[in-house]
Amino acid sequence: MKISLDWLSAYIDLPDNPDDLIDVLPMLGIEVEAGEEQSSRNLDHVVVGEILSKVPHPEADRLSVCAVEVGGEKPANIVCGATNFQPGDHVPVALPGAKLPGGFKIKKSKLRGVPSEGMMCSAKELEIGTDDQGLLILPDNPKVGTPIEQLLSEDKVLELEITANRGDCLSYLGVAREISAYYQRKYNTPKVADLGIKHEECPDGHFLNSVSIESKDCSRYGAWSIQGVSIAPSPDWLKARLESVGLRPINNVVDITNFVLLETGQPLHAFDASKIKGKTIQIRQAKENESITTLDDVKRKLDPSMMVIADGETPLVVAGIMGSVDAEVNTTTTDLVLESAWFRPGSIRHTARKLGLHTDSSQRFSRDVDPQGLEYAAQRAIDLILEIAGGKCLPEYVCKGSAPRGERKIEITQAYAERICGFEIQPEQLSSAWKRLGFLVEGNDPWHVIVPSFRSEVERPIDLVEEFLRIHGTKDLQDTPVVCPSTSRENDGTYEVCQKATDNLVGQGYQEACNYSLRSGEEINSWHPSFDTNSLSLLNPLTSDHTHVRASLLPGLVDNLAHNQKNLNDLTRVFETGRIFRPGPRGNVEWISIAFASFSEPNSRQWKTQAKLDFFGIKNQFLSVLHAMGLSLPKGDWENLSKSAPWQSDYSAKIGDCHRNKLEASIGILDLQLTKKKEAKGPVFAVEILIDPILLSKRKKAVTFTRFSSFPPAIKDLALVVQGDTPAESVRSDLEQIAISVGSDQFEVDPVTIFDLFQGQGMEAGQKSVACSMRFRALDRTLSEKEVNQAFDTILQKIDQDTPYELRT
């Protein structure tokens, strides 16, 4: 909210240096955005000039030639197109060398043959107001030659940020109250004429025959009749007030309602009485398919969730937000109905949001105006209307409904305040803080504090503690030691597991990246064509590339690799940990993912060649990180991924299923077309680990020690000929099973290892040889050659009987 300090000073004496407010207000809870420095506009060479004479231009009917005293050696000769001035007027004059805010440079020139030594300016041309209808006539005849800056610099405009709970501060009087509380000086509420006589039904002589509240969102509604006003432009002082905070003056009546809104925080609405059909006002919900053309000339469709002020036929106002062009007060208006009401904040907020129409009025209603301030604001406006626009007001007005809240009495003790604050408080410190805020304080520990109706949010003892702290401050709380009894809690497993993965991957030469969680539907479609993409979509995305939540960290990582490759950066290994979202059989799920991606080669030439990264390299990196995370491979076998985006068929594999095992991992090369589309050159090796957080909530069982042999092993190697598409792992594990069963209770078998793989010469087409090494050990002795050979023979026999494998000879 913009606040003009000049205007504010009408209600309270400001500190000698008004800049003090920039420090004081924030400590009361009102943030001050960088004060709008009027002087940031460059108005050099623009000075006060006095028009000495005005004669018509010999060549142009619309121009006049003026002699203007600007404080120089002789008056300046200036050609001017405006007509709203007389000799003797003081106006701003831009002299040669000046540069107007719009960028226009002033030079000596000739206009239709007559030399002109400058330009007389309107408020708009100097950007100190919005009036472009003529020259800015300076009031009070300031001294000729004074830089215009000096006249303006007296007023400073502050941009205040009022928190959502302090609707009462969205007004000059509200801000004045806060300043008054801080400086402990009185503020002045403008005096108004005696309030009229209130009626529940429309009194005789009122422009309205009936007012009916048919909506639960309106608690109070008042209407006043004013007869015989003359609509005209507002006087200069009023225009200046509105312009100082960026409002455009319209006419005296509308300007007065705006002025009072800003002054008191109570929005008012003036109707042209002749345009209210049926002399009736209904406060009701809009009907289905009703519409209204609001004052900003936009036709808006209404719906029954929105409240309107209607006459007998149509809606005249979107309640509390904006009026219709049909009931507008304009130059033909002579009779007014003035509305002052209290609407339910949530309802106004809802409608303003739905219509995308936020006004000064809606802002105040939706922050809760003072339900007992209606009459004061209306009377203030009536006084000004009668003074400025003439007419007379029917002393009897109609006001329906009752205030939803009034003063409240809150009981509070010193002990409670101290329990919250944690420091000693003197009783008079408490009561004085509340009194400074205009609260009535009765009794003494417990106090009964009476909070006025305009403070909607102070309802409980805790709120009074806050008010005390706001006024008292927390400066006393310096260098307080931390008191921290121990707690027995550990970091959540979900956090720890990602930290362990991070440390491991950094150790493996991976750089952590951080990508947006919001992605485009197109990306999800192409990377995970099997997903129902819709289920991951947002209801109200802001941009077309951020319409869905991510299903995987991999696309982002490939973006990162491609970006760095394109920029010739030496970064070919990236990883990310974070949350991903997947459709599932019982609805979407949010899982933890750890993913990493790597090119097989560096982005730039190296002095020494090294082996390219391959599937088994990335597999090792995966096993390393899984190990570091304290997890074991999920049960089951590696499954070859074929036609399973985003993975490249035959060069990628998956183990586990996160829906079933709470853990799964896919490793290998990413689909070449997908990575190419992201402009990554060269295959991208990647790993994606998915974890259901529930996996990490279980406490791990302690490991039980297993004895091992201290005798040397006997080693036996053999090679088996198998079908080319048999996974080597099944050969190995079959052999291991056989060996273990043969060893039985006589000796143990170390894990069988594969030490060679062969295909080609000497082998039948479609077959391969898998060579394995077995190590036998007994716990109690060195195995004899005889028993080892015997066992080996049994193993060979079993292979022959139980497996399709053949011994390679």
Binding site: R367, G509, A513, Y516
Partner: protein, 349 residues
Amino acid sequence: MENDLQAIVAQAETILKTVSSRADWEQAKATILGPNGSLTQAAKGIGQLTKEERPAFGQALNQAKKKVEGFFKTSNESIEAQADLASLGEKADPSLPSVPSHLGGTHPLTNVRRRVVSIFRKIGFTVAEATEVETEWFCFDALNTPDDHPARDEQDTLFFPPNSTWANITQKAKEAHVLRTHTSSVQIRTLFKEKPPLRIIAPGRCFRRDTVDATHSANFHQTEGLYVDKNVTVKDLKAVLDYFLKELFGDKLETRLRPSFFPFTEPSFEVDLKAPNLGKLSNKWIEIMGCGMVDPEVLKLVNLDPEEWSGFAFGLGIERVAMILHGIDDIRHFYQNDQRFLSQFSNAT
């Protein structure tokens, strides 16, 4: 005969001087110690000696054999040593760059988050996490921000469609799912799951429906803190935050609590700090985080009696802290992942 033996010893010594490979060595060994080697042959001569001569010759033979074997052993060791050396390849020029040259590193946001977590860990706060997808109730209502509350205007929230279902995110009733706008929802999830006394820190990702620019990001990171116990006061809040900020920004730091408003704390404050070592931001008050005493309504909503329990909560933006600490002027750097940016902070823990 004994002269022969000495000759053989001398011969072995001579031959071995010229031996430079394992093969040469084997051959030399055969010449002397092999079945037809000179020493083996000489040993056979013992049969022609008299019984009296034999012990002396035997002794000499043994000595000779020991010597010769010694020579071969030494020779073998030196050949092996040379072979080991040869297997090392070229001598290293330590000035050449490493290959491969993957340094790896953490993201600056991780660095800041870890620092924050580690500072709070020292005073008994541990990490709690909850989901990024939330429901309206947990994100707003439970935090004393009902549907028509003004504060809800300011939260530009990203919603999921009404028909979307989430298997592992519990709802209070049938309220809509959203992307959480703050980590404050972790307070609620944790207070339902665990009982006070409780001291947690909850770092995590949040979302607002903001246009991306130098200071706004479609997603960003916050750290929530929560302390609920008996007799927790504003004084404790200030003490904890002062400790934290001094650990993070250095001892020469001033802080102040500026009154503010959050629906879920009462009283509420913004924390401002002033420090001499923050580049362009040095020596002026800058807003760093929001905090306050947990509103009694929030405690009631998680079934805690506000007469018995009290607490404080705070939240700060990780990006904001990183930007202040490192003098970073555009939030988008964090999400572009350019190596020239990341590498500046990759070991700046």
